[in-house]
Symmetry: C2
Subunit: 206 residues, 2 copies
Amino acid sequence: MPRNQRRKEDRPDEIVAAAFTEFADRGYADTKLDRVAKRAGVSKGLVFLYFKTKEQLFKAVVRAVVVPRIDAFEAAIAAHEGSLASFLRGPFVEFAAALPESPARHVVRLIVAEGPKHPDLTRWYHDNVISRVTAALAGLFQRAEDSGEIKAATLSQQPLLLIGPVVIGMIWKLLFDSHKPLDTRAFLNAHVDMMLGAFAISRSDA
Amino acid sequence: MPRNQRRKEDRPDEIVAAAFTEFADRGYADTKLDRVAKRAGVSKGLVFLYFKTKEQLFKAVVRAVVVPRIDAFEAAIAAHEGSLASFLRGPFVEFAAALPESPARHVVRLIVAEGPKHPDLTRWYHDNVISRVTAALAGLFQRAEDSGEIKAATLSQQPLLLIGPVVIGMIWKLLFDSHKPLDTRAFLNAHVDMMLGAFAISRSDA
DNA sequence: TACTTTACTGACTTGAAAGTCAGTAAACAG
DNA sequence: CTGTTTACTGACTTTCAAGTCAGTAAAGTA
């Protein structure tokens, strides 16, 4: 009687999508796989057919959500032609202001929460997210140093200095925003101004 | 036969201490209360006598770990007499470099992980941790602005700019340090240098 | 010593969710 | 149309931990 289509191609993606909303809403432990199944419009058994365990599904979810964003970030850096200052004040602030509102913030929560329990996932996250972002930023700063736009080699050596406020923004949105909203954009602008104020040699850029 | 002392006074603290190590090691969901009881040298039933639910115990743990550190941080700021620069390069870097190694980092993980499930705890954390730290820092920056040590009012308005790298340091130690160690102190020094470089008027301080 | 109070115990109940699998029917081959 | 494969189902099993409570004995009282 139930008119269930057989759609082998689409099922995994649909299950991953459903699982992500559940994980994002409830965290790992409080996500029930029959709920995921229901949301995906599928029986519980099918979830286990495509993903042997809850843990495996979780890892698939993290990878699926994270990879496209990192690709986009790298592409944005590669595509930029102008000065460092114009990149930071333009595309970077846009990107960084959007992140705390985006689904990506839930990945941060999930990784912080579950990372210690899943060393291989954590390592994958480092190698495919953290170090890719770090490398892209280091390259960006390096070019600005070589061109003489900024002095000192601090930034190319400590590229993570740029993203501290982004992390704070994501955590804030996750935890405190309903109680005390944070103006992410003002916060990020202040940070970018601070960096450029500390290192910029010529202050001609907008 | 079991020679169990009755020590009503000490039990709660002992249970909280045992619970903290378990929560820190395993996270909320994977912490079993009979394990906590065992670690505290107590029967499972007694845990429930002092804390009605697991959730209540969890909240007690967070409060117990966090409050003394915030007190210490506020006191350190209040006690400092010299310039902003000397505070940041001295006590602040010490404090901030110690944090990611300290048990406090586990609280960050637990709050990020469990916060969304416990709105009242999250709110308490904001009001008793975040806003106390923010206020203390804002005061510190305000004084430096008033005395003419730094220009602009950016820092007193965005005091969180100071602690982005501290958060990154804690998360890094929690997740990636075994795979790729982070030199927290160098990272923090670079950040403090950047802030002072951006805002300091006179560069006479060490 | 006898009696009362209550800190403390641990076997038990209860509920819940991950993971299983025998069965069903949709697609497709011939 | 018939037979075969396999995507899919959902009731069932298994495991496991939070929370309970009847009972025990340590401390206090007289």
